[in-house]
């Protein structure tokens, strides 16, 4: 329960940070932190936790965005799954592979957004300027991805240590007396 609450708190903190970044930075240079959390969850968390974190933070983004309810949740779930598949083949804890993966996931996310926009609204919403925006966003996400993985690693380590300390360990020091 404590672990679930802590991870939910992390998701909320990411949304808060994203919201602050949106208000401060030019839109092209705002890192997509909810997407990066899904990537980090695929690299560091268990499958169950990762799926729930990704979908939860996606719904949170839907709440604070003009998208359809569930659109970001679906895309974050897809990002988690894609990164999980890639992480089975490559060691994504290292900086460069993770950055390359973040670029790939950002592009896939943009294509997913366009596909869902086309499917549900009849308009892919990607104009001629999209590649330039996308390149900038992918670059920013690549830079921020190792930080997000580091943050999630730290949180998960803290939670695991605390759980280990709280666990009851019984040492059998005596033989049972007959």
């Amino acid at each position: 329960m404590r672990r679930a609450l802590a991870l939910a708190g992390l998701g909320l903190a990411v949304l808060i940070l994203q919201s602050v970044a949106t208000a401060v930075l030019p839109v092209r240079f705002v890192p997509d932190l909810t997407l990066l959390l899904a990537v980090a969850a695929a690299v560091s968390a268990s499958t169950l936790e990762g799926m729930l974190i990704s979908t939860g933070v996606g719904y949170g983004a839907d709440l604070l965005s003009g998208s359809l309810l569930g659109q970001h949740a679906l895309l974050r779930l897809g990002a988690f799954l894609g990164t999980r598949v890639v992480s089975a083949q490559f060691h994504l804890k290292r900086g460069l592979p993770l950055a390359v993966c973040a670029v790939g996931v950002t592009v896939a996310d943009a294509l997913g957004t366009a596909g869902l926009g086309w499917l549900f609204a009849g308009d892919p919403m990607l104009g001629l300027h999209a590649p330039l925006d996308l390149a900038a966003r992918a670059g920013v996400n690549a830079l921020c991805a190792p930080l997000m993985v580091g943050l999630l690693d730290t949180v998960l380590e803290l939670l695991t240590e605390r759980e280990a300390r709280r666990r009851d360990v019984r040492l059998e020091t005596r033989r049972p007396v007959l």
């Binding site: 949304l15 808060i16 994203q18 919201s19 602050v20 949106t22 208000a23 401060v24 030019p26 839109v27 092209r28 705002v30 997509d32 909810t34 499958t47 169950l48 799926m51 979908t55 996606g58 983004a61 839907d62 709440l63 604070l64 965005s65 003009g66 998208s67 359809l68 309810l69 569930g70 659109q71 970001h72 949740a73 679906l74 779930l77 799954l81 943009a110 957004t113 869902l116 926009g117 549900f120 609204a121 308009d123 919403m125 990607l126 104009g127 300027h129 999209a130 925006d133 966003r137």
Partner: protein
């Protein structure tokens, strides 16, 4: 059996989440298309949660920006104040001359009567949050259905058009800005009356498309709402032409607009508590516009 369930737990969870997200998108789309988004309970609950969170989030940013703009960045304010006072005096003099001319021709009285006929109440509303997704451009407002705000109502500032309310809950509303890629407004060039569609590009600029090639559009022209879409009232300032792209098309050309409103610094906006005929048709199901005196009057005015 237990072993099988344990093995299928993750695929089952994934399938459930996938179906749930898709279903919520389909339902949300259907509700918004049907025009009933004002009272969808899940949107309402989520937006009610979002408003206080966004207020807390934006407070330190606003406080810092206020501190900067009101106390730190006031170096040249005396000179600027003098220049503005001089300009105000000139404008007041001009305004007086114009008023005299209008009164003399009897136009002022007719304009006053017309304004009374089309007066739209404006509700001041604070912007409490911006869109967190880079692909969408919307804002969260702190007034909602409880203050008579409804989906389809235009949102403006003193500088011009901001966008359109797209969803409401009792105490919050979401407005899609002109910059959003899904936004399209029928506009005209104020000087030459050239007509086109103003579309959002997802960036800080707007695109004025579908302008007939022969029409006169020049850099510096002001584009206003035409009122023809039946969504926004006529005459709201949209932006200024900064670039004209003739392109290869034989029939149409486009222009780039700088929005009249500074979307990066939106703090307070006004919701026009009035839906245009198209929005009334969509949200209230009023099929016979001719039977509605308000609607027919507005249509006639355009």
């Amino acid at each position: 059996m237990r072993e099988l369930l344990a093995r299928l737990r993750l695929p089952l969870l994934f399938t459930t989440l996938l179906v749930f997200t898709l279903a919520s998108m389909v339902v949300d789309r259907r509700v918004s298309q049907g025009g009933g988004r004002d009272h969808s309970w899940w949107t309402g609950i989520l937006m009610e949660i979002a408003v206080p969170i966004q207020k807390v989030l934006t407070f330190p940013i606003e406080a810092t920006s206020h501190l900067w703009s009101r106390y730190v960045a006031l170096v040249d304010v005396q000179e600027e104040n003098d220049a503005l006072r001089a300009r105000l005096a000139r404008l007041e003099e001009q305004n007086l001359q114009f008023r005299e001319a209008l009164v003399a021709s009897g136009h002022l009285q007719r304009i006053v009567q017309m304004r009374e006929g089309f007066e739209v109440p404006l509700l001041p509303t604070a912007v409490v949050g911006q869109d967190v997704s880079p692909w969408f451009r919307s804002v969260l407002l702190d007034r909602g259905g409880g203050h008579e705000v409804r989906s389809g109502m235009p949102v403006v500032t003193d500088r011009g058009l901001v966008g359109l309310v797209t969803a409401t809950s009792p105490r919050a509303a979401r407005a899609m800005m002109l910059l959003d890629r899904q936004s399209a407004v029928d506009g005209i060039v104020q000087r030459s009356r050239a007509r086109g569609i103003v579309r959002g590009r997802g960036t800080g600029k707007l695109e004025f498309t579908l302008v007939v090639r022969g029409d006169d559009v020049q850099v510096g022209d002001v584009v206003i709402t035409s009122g023809l879409g039946g969504v926004h009232p006529k005459g709201l300032r949209i932006g200024e032409v900064t670039e004209v792209n003739v392109g290869d098309s034989q029939l149409l050309h486009t222009a780039v607009l700088r929005p009249a409103v500074d979307f990066g610094r939106l703090e307070q906006v006004f919701v026009m508590l009035h839906r245009g005929p198209t929005m009334r048709l969509l949200y209230e199901g009023e099929g016979d516009l001719a039977a509605d005196p308000e609607g027919s009057r507005e249509t006639a005015s355009r």
